[in-house]
Amino acid sequence: MYKYDQYDQAIVDARVDEFRDQVRRRMAGEITEDQFKPLRLMNGLYLQLHAYMLRVAIPYGTLDSRQMHMLAHIARKYDRDYGHFTTRQNIQYNWIKLEDAGDILADLATVEMHAIQTSGNCIRNISSDQYAGAAADEVADPRPWAELLRQWSTFHPEFSYLPRKFKIAVIASDEDRAAMRLHDIGIQLVERDGKLGAAFYVGGGMGRTPMVAPLIKDFVPIEDFLSYAEACLRVYNRYGRRDNIYKARIKILIHELGADEYRRQVEQEFAHVKSLGIDPPAAELERITAFFAPPAFEAGAADTVDRSDPDFAVWLDQNVKAHKQPGYAIVNISLKPVGGIPGDASSAQIDVMADLAEQYSFDELRVTHAQNIVLPHVAKRDLYAVWQKLVEADLASPNLDLISDIIACPGLDYCSLANARSIPVAQKIAQRFSDLDRQRTLGELKLKISGCINACGHHHAGHIGILGVDRKGTENYQLLLGGSGAEDTSLGKITGPGFDEDGVVDAIERVTDKYLELREGGERFLDTYRRVGFDPFKEAIYG
């Protein structure tokens, strides 16, 4: 994992002092809320329905046990004993007091964490593949490049006041586990003729105008990585619309210009940017990359697992994925118990996961965009012990990628932007399909719920998506089918008139029944939907 140098630490410490003083001035009445609001947002502090909410950045979703314990400590000391892991691989606390904000940021700084650029029209936390460094199919570890982007984008003076917020994802596998093409810039590391480079997809996103990012450049030599990113941002910063918040994202600019014209302008800008020498020297790249060297895997570690405990075997099949190192495995910890709140974890659970990482996973954890946690490097001989400890902590739900592994935004229970509640709908769906055999019969089925058009719950990318809307003061839920955030990225299509809370659960059951009726061979729901089309499902829903 990357460790702060003196510059990283100095700027974070300075920001803590600065924000502590800004809070003091606000509390003393020296500045108004209108003056203070942009300052607190620059430090991830929102005012939500019930209290202040603090969003803490987890760079590319990677953290160690010391940092995870700190997240538990903050939940316990300053919040109401839990935190909410988000679809941007961050964590949010829902009950923060303004008077505690300075102390919280100071505590975070002691473990090289902060809340900088988790809000505002700037480059947000860089996201990545939660299996980075462990996946057999990656051409390189994407994290050094995500870290390079983090350093480049932190307090970047030119990109601190963009037309709108800006999200970047970096992956290095053909299998997309990070919804890469639904970011403002999605970068896939690729190899060509034995050389590393990057494919740049630009102009994707969800929200009220969802778009899948077009390929802008199929191979950027890795030594041009930062310059090309800078050129992409510069064109957006210059021409992105600042007159209309709903048309300010880069996806709108590229849609209006056309991908070819945007590409032409980026290439022109790149020719200039490259001359500025912003790409780091080889020694700096090596310094960063060294932090992500593979851990000291044990050669010849046992590659077999005793499956005699049937409950363990189910969890093994569902939540444990192949690792590139023989004798090791990737463990997914589901934060989606039936009836629970997707992405929420108590401080005690966060501590348990930190302890497991320290003892069994070379001190590493990852947060996934699906609001789960990953232990990336667990020896197969330790899997049973890890599972037993997860069971004790109510963290062993064997439902990864099944219908109850639901992404849900906080919705109207917490969020001031929401129009409808998301969490109760997720809970009702999970309860309706609580029978694990039934879930496994349905197979991979990604269900995603947003409580408003901003799409924090990724409803556009759900195999089944749900969008909560306000219909004359009443919650109403639209159903979408056919979305995907994976390498076969697609946007869901709205089925028709919406439903009330119970009605949408019934409608989903009609969809899954129809799927089982139409399924051929080993098709996933999405495969069947794409083969037979929209109409049979629409007819099943509405009759």
Binding site: G29, A51, Y52, W95, I341, D413, P424, D470
Partner: protein, 98 residues
Amino acid sequence: MKLLTGNDLASGAVTWWTGDGWSLHVEDAVDVDEHGDAILAVEEAARRVNAPYIIDAVGTPEGPRPAHIKDRVRALGPTVRPDLTLKPADPDAGNWVI
């Protein structure tokens, strides 16, 4: 009826104008009629409330009930965590929101 609501500056807690101060409980809220903007200006300037605004509500025997579900969620707390609402001992409290 019109209610005045906002958040406590230091804690962020949801508060309601009672006629002579601020309460955590919507039951204590009073109809501000056409005086909301004037009260709001004075109270915000004195930092006794943060980000205040005026909402529509209806009177009930149990007290004012905000017209919009968002304000009812604000008044009670998250419906999915009854233990964190203002009425943790009342299992039916969430029904008031809906």
